[in-house]
Symmetry: C2
Subunit: 596 residues, 2 copies
C-alpha cells in the first residue's frame, strides 16, 4: 500500500473541531452526521487507495501526451475516472437536483484530500469540474444548467477554467480573447488560452470550457470581461453530442511536476470562431469567475495538505525501515532505524504537525462554508461567511507553502535515496511546487487577505478571530497539563503578534501601501500559522478529554504531542514574523530597481 | 548571457571582509593580493560565462548516459573540461610543486562559486578531484604523490570519493568493501560503491578512485577502515597508462537534478580484484577521508551560494521584463514590470540577502583557512583553524539549506512560467536539492557542530565568535546612520539567542543528548544565520565608509540596503529559533515511534 487515508485524524477533526453533528442539524444535511461522514470516508479511502493511488507514479513516468491535437492520458487514468464517476464521487457536494449527493463541504473536503493524496494529477480533473459546476449553478441560465449540469455532476463530462493568456496571468485586466455576438444569441470566440488544466484529454465524452473573453466594444480592464461556456462538442437539443466546436489543443506543457495532468494551450476560433454561450450577464465575468476561483482556491489548499500527508507517510515508512548509526542516547547499542535519531524525529514531527494543523484549519473552514450557505439563521450565515472568506487565502496560501517545506523534508529524510527518482519522494517535491502558483500565487492570496479581508473592514473579522483564539487560551490555561500550559503560552504570543500585524496592515494599507503590501505574504503566513496552531490547541483539549474518558488513548496522546510540537516549533516563529513585517517594511522596497 | 559573475560583490568581500591584502603578507602568497584576485576572477568569469554556463541547460536536457559500462557525458562537456584543464583552473589552489598555481582559498572559493553558478553538474568533477588531491597531499606516500598528483592537478586525470555503499550511507561503520593484502604490497579490492559522482565518464584519460575499504581482519566499525587509491587504468612505471583495472561502472542513477553529473554504481573485483594502493596507514582511512570531506563540504556550501546566485539573476531578469498589474502605490498608472510589486521585491531581496550573506561568510571562512594553513605565527594558525573548523558545518549546512529557499523563490517569481521546464528556473530548484544531502546531510553537519565543534570545548570557540560579533555591534552603535542602528539591534538579539543556545547545547549534550541533538539542525541554522548577518553588518560599515569617500556609491548603497534587509527579515528569526530549541526540545522526541 503506497498510501493509507488518515481516517482517524480526519474524523477527529470533523467531529471535534468542525462539529459535524451541529451541521447535521441544518435543514438538508440531516443525513450528514458523523456516521455518514465515517461511511463516506471509508468508502472514499477504499476506492482511492486501491484504484487511484497506484496510478500516481505511473502518471509521473508516463505523462499525458499530445499528438495532432489529441491528448492521451496515462494508461489507467481513463478507466479510473470512469470508476470515479460511476461511484458518484464527482457529485458528492453538488445538489441532488442535478444528480449529486448534496453532502456538506465538511465531508467533501476530506474526500478531496484523500483523492489528492492518492494522485494530485488525477484529482485536478474533478477539481476543475467542481469549479465549472459552481459557476453554472450560481450564474448559468436555466437552459445552460439543463444542458450541462447533469453530465458534469455525473462525471460524464468534465469542466475547465480558461483564464490565463500569454500576456494575462495574475493580471486579468489584460485578457484579449474576443467574443463576437451572433444574431442567434450565441457568441463567436477567438483567442489563445494557456495553462488550461485538463483542457484536452480522453477521459470524458465532452469538455465544458468556461472561458473569460471580452465582448467586442466592452469596457477596458476587468469590467469588460464576460464568461462563456464553450463546449468541445456542440450539444444537440436532445442532449446528444453534435459537431466538434472550434476550440483546439495546440500543445501541452512540459512541466516540473503533476506531469500526468495535461496543461493545454487552447486555440479558439482558428476555423471561423468557437461557439460560446454567455454565462449570466455581459461584463460580469470576473465576478462569476471568482465563484469558481474561490472553490478552486480552497481545493488547492487541500491539495497542499494532501501532498504533505503522502510525503509524510512515505518518509515515516523509510525512517522506520532504514538502519543507520546508533541513537545518541545509547538506548540501542547497534545501528538502528533512523527514526530513532532526534533530527529525523524533528523532521517527521514538523511534517506531521504542519499537515495536521492545516487539515484542522481546512476542516473548520469547510464547516463554516456549510453554515454560511445552509444555516437557517441569517446572522449565523453572515458570521460564518466572513470567517470562511478570511480562511480561503489562509487555506490556499499557508497549506501550499507548508507543503513545499514538508515535501522537501520528505526528500531529506530519505537522504541520497530521496534524490533518486525511482524512490518517489522527489515526485512529491516536484508536484507540490505548482500549488503555490496556480489559482492565484501566494502573493495574490496575500493581496486578497490584506485588501479585501483585512483593510476593507479595518481588521474587524481578524480581530474577531483573535478574540476566539484568546478564549481558547483561557480554556487551555485552566487545565493542569503541562502540554496545555505550554501551548497556551505560545498561542498567546502568536495571537498578540497577529493582532499587532493586523493593526499595522489596516493602518498602512491606504497611507503606505508599499509598507502594507511588503508584509502581505509574511502576514498570510503568520495568520495561517496562528489559525492552524489555534485549531491544534483545540484538538489538544478534545484529545485530553477523550483520553481521560478512555477513548483510543494512543491516538489521543499523539494528538496532544503533535499540538505541543506545533506550538513550540512552528507557532514560535510568529513573533519573529511580526518583527519582520513591522520593523522591516521599509527595507523591502529600499533598493532602487536599477540596483537589482 | 545566462549568467554574469558577481565580481563586484566577490571582490568587495575579498578585500573588505576577508582582508586579501593581509593574506598577501603571508609567505608564499606575496603575489596573491587584490590585483591578482581581480585579474584571476575576471579571467574565471570570462571562461565560465562563455564556455561552461551555456552547457548548463544542455546538461539537464541531455544528461550523461550509460551503455555497457561506458558513460558518455553531455555533448560539449568533454571539450569544455579540456579547456578548463588547459586554463590551469584545476590547479588554482594546489601547490606549485605539482604544477598548481598555489593561490589562496580566498580567491579559489570565489572561482569555485563562478564555476558552480555556471554549471553545477560540470563543476562537480573538479570539486571531487580537489578532494582527491587534498587527501594524497596530506596522507599519500611519495610514490603515490609522484604517480598521481601532477596529472590530477593538471586536469589530465580526475578523482572520486568512494564512501557510500547500499547499507552504509551516513553510517560509515557499516562499510563492507574488502581489501585483501597482496605479497607485492598492493591490495585486491572487492565490493560495491554507490552514489559515486563522476565515478565513470569520458572527460579524462584516467580516473583515480579514493576508496574506503576494510582490510581483512581489521577491527569492526570506523576504526577498521582504510583508504585506497584504485585507478581506472593501471599506471606504468614511466607514467603511461596500462591495463584496465577491475573497477567497473554497472549503472548510473536517474536523478531529480544535477542530471549531467553521472552518479555511478561501481563494482570492484568482479574479475579477480581491483588493484588498490594503501594511502597512509591501515585503519586510518576515516581520518584521511575527512580531509577530502572537509574540503568537499566547504565546496558544497559554495555550490549552494552558486546556485542561489544563478537563480537570483534569472528571477531578476524575469521580474524586470514581465509586465503584470499596476503598482499598489500608484507610482505607475499602467501595468508595470512585476519588480515594481512589493512582494516581488521581497522575494528578490530575500534571495539576494541570503546569497550575499552566505558569500560573505564563506569568503571570511576561506581566508581563515589560508591563515590557518600558511601563517608564520603558530598562535594565529591555531586560532584561525578553530574558527575555520567551526565555519565548515555552517558554510555547508546553512548555505545549502538557504539555497533550497532561494531556488524555490526563483521559481515563484516566474509564476506559472516557473513550472514549465523550458523556462529553466525549475532546474535550479531540482539541482539544489542534492546540496543538503551529499557530503553529509544537514543533520550530519549539525552533529559535527554540536559534538566536535561546540560540546567538546564547552562552547569556547562559539563564545569567542560571539565576542567578536559583540564588538561589531559596538562599532555599529557608534554610527549615526539609521541602517547601522537597526542592524545593531537585530544583531544583538540574534547573538544573544545564539549564546543561549550554545549554553543549552554544551550543557545538555552529555546529560540529555536527545534534547541537545533535537536542536542540532535549528542550532546550525541559527549559527549560520548569525554569522552571515554579522558579516553583512561588517560589509554595511565598509560600504558606508566607501560611499562617503565617493567610491561606487550605487553599489555601496545597495550593500547597505541588503545588509539591513537581512537583519530585519532573516536575522529577526533568531530568537524564535532559540525558543524552539530551548523550550521545544522535549516535544521533538515525545511521540512514541509506534505512533508515527
Amino acid at each position: 500500500m503506497t498510501y493509507k487515508a488518515p481516517l482517524k485524524d480526519m474524523l477527529f477533526d470533523i467531529r471535534h473541531l468542525a462539529g459535524i453533528d451541529e451541521i447535521a442539524k441544518i435543514p438538508g444535511f440531516e443525513e450528514a452526521g458523523f456516521d455518514t461522514a465515517q461511511a463516506v470516508l471509508e468508502e472514499c479511502a477504499k476506492f482511492n487507495e486501491g484504484v487511484v493511488a497506484p496510478l500516481n507514479v505511473d502518471g509521473d513516468r508516463n505523462p499525458s501526451s499530445w499528438k495532432a491535437g489529441v491528448v492521451t492520458t496515462t494508461p489507467g487514468f481513463k478507466e479510473a475516472f470512469k470508476q470515479y464517476a460511476e461511484g458518484g464521487w464527482q457529485g458528492l457536494q453538488h445538489p441532488t437536483d442535478f444528480g449529486g449527493q448534496g453532502l456538506p463541504k465538511t465531508i467533501g473536503a476530506a474526500c478531496g484530500e484523500i483523492l489528492n493524496s492518492a494522485n494530485l494529477s488525477f484529482a485536478l480533473c474533478p477539481l476543475l469540474t467542481d469549479g465549472a459546476i459552481e459557476a453554472l449553478l450560481t450564474a448559468g441560465s436555466d437552459d445552460l444548467k439543463a444542458t450541462y449540469l447533469e453530465n458534469l455532476v455525473s462525471g460524464k463530462w468534465t469542466g475547465t477554467m480558461n483564464l490565463t493568456e500569454p500576456q494575462a496571468g495574475s493580471d486579468l485586466a489584460m485578457v484579449r480573447t474576443r467574443a463576437e455576438p451572433q444574431p442567434d444569441g450565441t457568441y463567436k470566440i477567438f483567442g489563445t488560452k494557456i495553462f488550461i488544466t485538463y483542457g484536452e484529454h480522453d477521459m470524458a465524452e465532452n469538455i465544458v470550457h468556461l472561458v473569460l473573453a471580452r465582448v467586442v466594444g466592452a469596457p477596458e480592464g476587468v469590467k469588460g470581461i464576460s464568461l462563456f461556456v464553450v463546449p468541445k462538442f456542440m450539444v444537440n437539443g436532445d442532449g446528444s453530442l453534435g459537431a466538434r466546436n472550434d476550440v483546439h489543443c495546440v500543445s501541452i506543457e512540459h512541466k516540473l511536476g503533476i506531469k500526468a495532468s495535461p496543461t493545454a494551450v487552447l486555440q479558439f476560433g482558428d476555423h471561423g470562431g468557437g461557439v460560446g454561450y454567455l454565462v449570466g450577464q455581459e461584463n460580469r465575468g470576473l465576478e462569476y469567475m471568482f465563484i469558481m476561483m474561490n472553490a478552486a482556491r480552497f481545493a488547492v489548499g487541500v491539495q497542499g495538505i494532501a501532498v504533505a500527508e503522502r510525503a509524510y507517510q512515505k518518509a515515516v515508512g523509510y525512517a522506520k525501515d532504514r538502519v543507520q548509526s546508533r541513537p545518541v542516547d545509547g538506548s540501542i547499542s547497534a545501528s538502528a532505524p533512523i527514526i530513532h535519531h532526534p533530527d529525523v524525529k524533528r523532521m517527521l514531527m514538523t511534517m506531521r504537525a504542519y499537515t495536521e494543523g492545516c487539515r484542522a484549519m481546512a476542516t473548520v473552514a469547510a464547516s463554516a462554508y456549510d453554515a454560511a450557505h445552509h444555516h437557517p439563521d441569517a446572522d449565523v450565515r453572515k458570521q460564518n461567511q466572513s470567517f470562511y472568506e478570511f480562511m480561503v487565502p489562509l487555506v490556499k496560501g499557508y497549506s501550499t507553502e507548508m507543503s513545499l517545506e514538508v515535501t522537501s523534508l520528505g526528500v531529506q529524510v530519505h537522504g541520497g535515496m530521496g534524490f533518486i527518482e525511482e524512490t518517489g519522494a522527489a515526485q512529491h517535491y516536484r508536484d507540490a511546487k505548482i500549488l503555490t502558483i496556480y489559482e492565484g500565487t501566494t502573493a495574490i492570496q496575500a493581496n486578497d487577505l490584506v485588501g479585501r479581508k483585512t483593510a476593507r473592514d479595518g481588521g474587524q473579522v481578524a480581530k474577531a478571530i483573535a478574540a476566539q483564539i484568546e478564549k481558547t487560551e483561557g480554556e487551555l490555561s485552566k487545565r493542569d497539563s503541562a502540554a496545555a500550559k505550554a501551548v497556551a503560552k505560545k498561542l498567546t504570543a502568536a495571537r498578540q503578534a497577529f493582532l499587532d500585524v493586523v493593526d499595522f496592515i489596516a493602518g498602512n494599507s491606504k497611507t503606505s501601501p508599499n509598507a502594507a503590501f511588503a508584509g502581505s505574504v509574511p502576514y498570510l503566513m503568520l495568520a495561517g500559522n496562528v489559525v492552524a496552531g489555534w485549531q491544534l490547541a483545540r484538538s489538544l483539549m478534545a484529545a485530553e478529554d477523550l483520553a481521560a474518558s478512555g477513548e483510543d488513548k494512543a491516538f489521543m496522546e499523539a494528538k496532544v504531542a503533535t499540538a505541543r510540537f506545533y506550538a513550540e516549533h512552528i507557532l514560535a516563529k510568529a513573533p519573529g514574523t511580526r518583527d519582520a513585517i513591522v520593523d522591516g517594511a521599509g527595507s523591502v522596497t529600499a533598493l532602487a530597481i536599477e540596483a537589482f
